[in-house]
Amino acid sequence: MKQDGKETEMSKVFKVAVIIPCHNEEDTILNLITEIKNTQYSHHFVIEPIVINDASIDQTKEILLNHHVKFIDLSVNLGIGGAVQSGFKYAYRNGYDIAVQMDGDGQHPPAELEKILSPLYNHEADVVIGSRYITNEGFQSSGLRRFGINYFKWLNKSLVGITVNDSTSGYRALNIKALEIVSQYYPDEYPEPESVILFSLNHLKIKEVPVIMRERLGGKSSIRTYKTIYYMFKVTLGIIFLYIRLKFNGKRHII
C-alpha cells in the first residue's frame, strides 16, 4: 500500500510555469519562447512559458498577441520584483506545481531548465537557484559584480547561516510552498539576494545547482555599473530590515 502511494507520487506530472518578466524585449522574446517550446523535457514536466509584459513601450505586446503566447499584461511598470511576483501569484492561483523565473534577455538557457527542476521533483528542496559560480562554466560576469556577489554571499551566511554562491542569479525554481510565501511578499527592486533571506527564514530548503549561462542576447542588465553602489546599499538595507521583520515580528507582520 505504502509502495503504491509512493509510486503514484513519483510518477506525478508537474505543471511548470516559466515566468519571463519582460520590459521592451521585442528583439529577443520570441526566440526565447520558441526555444522553450522546442526543447525536449522529461515526461515529468509540462512546461508552459508565461511572459509578464511589464508595460513595454515597444512592440512586445503585439508580438506576444500575434504568436498566441500566454502573457500577463501589466498596465503600470512595476519593475522586476513586481513583475515576477505577478507571475508567482498567477502560478499559485492557477494550479501550477512549480514556477521558474527566467530572464527575458536570453541569459538563462531553457536547456538548463531540467537541472533546476529535478531537485524539486525529487523533493530535495523547495527553492532551487541556478548558479554560474559553482563550476565556472559558460558566461561569467564582470569583476565588480563578482565583488557584489561575494559580499551578498557573506551577508547571507552571517545572517541566516546558509551559503548561496550566487544569490543575484534570477534563474530559480520555486515549489508550491515557496509560491505561497512569495505571493504574499516579494521585494520590489533587485529581489534576488533579499528573497534568499525570505526563503530561509520561512524554513524553506534552498538548493543551488550549477547551470551554464549565456551572454545576454539583447536588452540591458538591470544592474549597470554606476548603479552598483546604490544596488548594494539598497539590497543591504532590504536584507537587514527583512531579517529584523521576520525574525522579531513573526510571519503575520510580513507586509
Binding site: I72, D73, S75, V76, L78, G82, S86, K89, Y90, I255
Partner: protein
C-alpha cells in the same frame, strides 16, 4: 507711533491666518484634501491665529521654557513639525506604492483570466 505699527502688523497677521484657514476649508469642501491630512493644517492655522491675536504669547512661552531669544521657538517648532510631517508623507507614499502594485497585479491577472475565458468560448 510704535503701537500703530504693531497693530497694523497684527491685523496683517490675522488676515493672513484667516485667509489660510479659509483656503484649507475650501480644499476640504471641494474634496481636494482628505480630512486626515486637513487635521494637521487646521491645527497649524489655529496656532497661527492664536499667536497673531495673543501678542505676548511667544514671550510668555519662551519665558516658561527658558529660551532667551523668543522667535527661535518658531523655528524650532516649525522645523520639528515639518520633519514629522515629511516622515508621515513618506509613510503614506510607501503605502500607496504597495497599493498601486497590488492593484496593477490584480488587474493584470483579471485581464488574463478574461482573455482565457473568451478563448474557451
Amino acid at each position: 507711533m510704535e503701537n500703530v505699527i504693531s497693530y497694523r502688523l497684527q491685523i496683517i497677521a490675522i488676515t493672513i491666518a484667516l485667509t489660510f484657514m479659509l483656503f484649507i476649508f475650501r480644499l476640504i469642501a471641494k474634496g481636494k484634501l482628505r480630512e486626515e491630512y486637513s487635521f494637521i493644517w487646521i491645527i497649524c492655522t489655529a496656532l497661527l491665529l492664536l499667536f497673531s491675536v495673543w501678542r505676548n504669547g511667544l514671550d510668555v512661552i519662551a519665558g516658561i521654557l527658558g529660551i532667551y531669544y523668543a522667535p527661535s521657538i518658531i523655528f524650532l517648532a516649525a522645523i520639528f513639525a515639518i520633519v514629522i510631517f515629511l516622515v508621515h508623507l513618506s509613510v503614506v507614499s510607501s503605502r500607496q506604492h504597495k497599493q498601486i502594485k497590488d492593484l496593477t497585479q490584480e488587474m493584470s491577472l483579471l485581464k488574463e483570466k478574461l482573455e482565457s475565458e473568451k478563448e474557451k468560448k
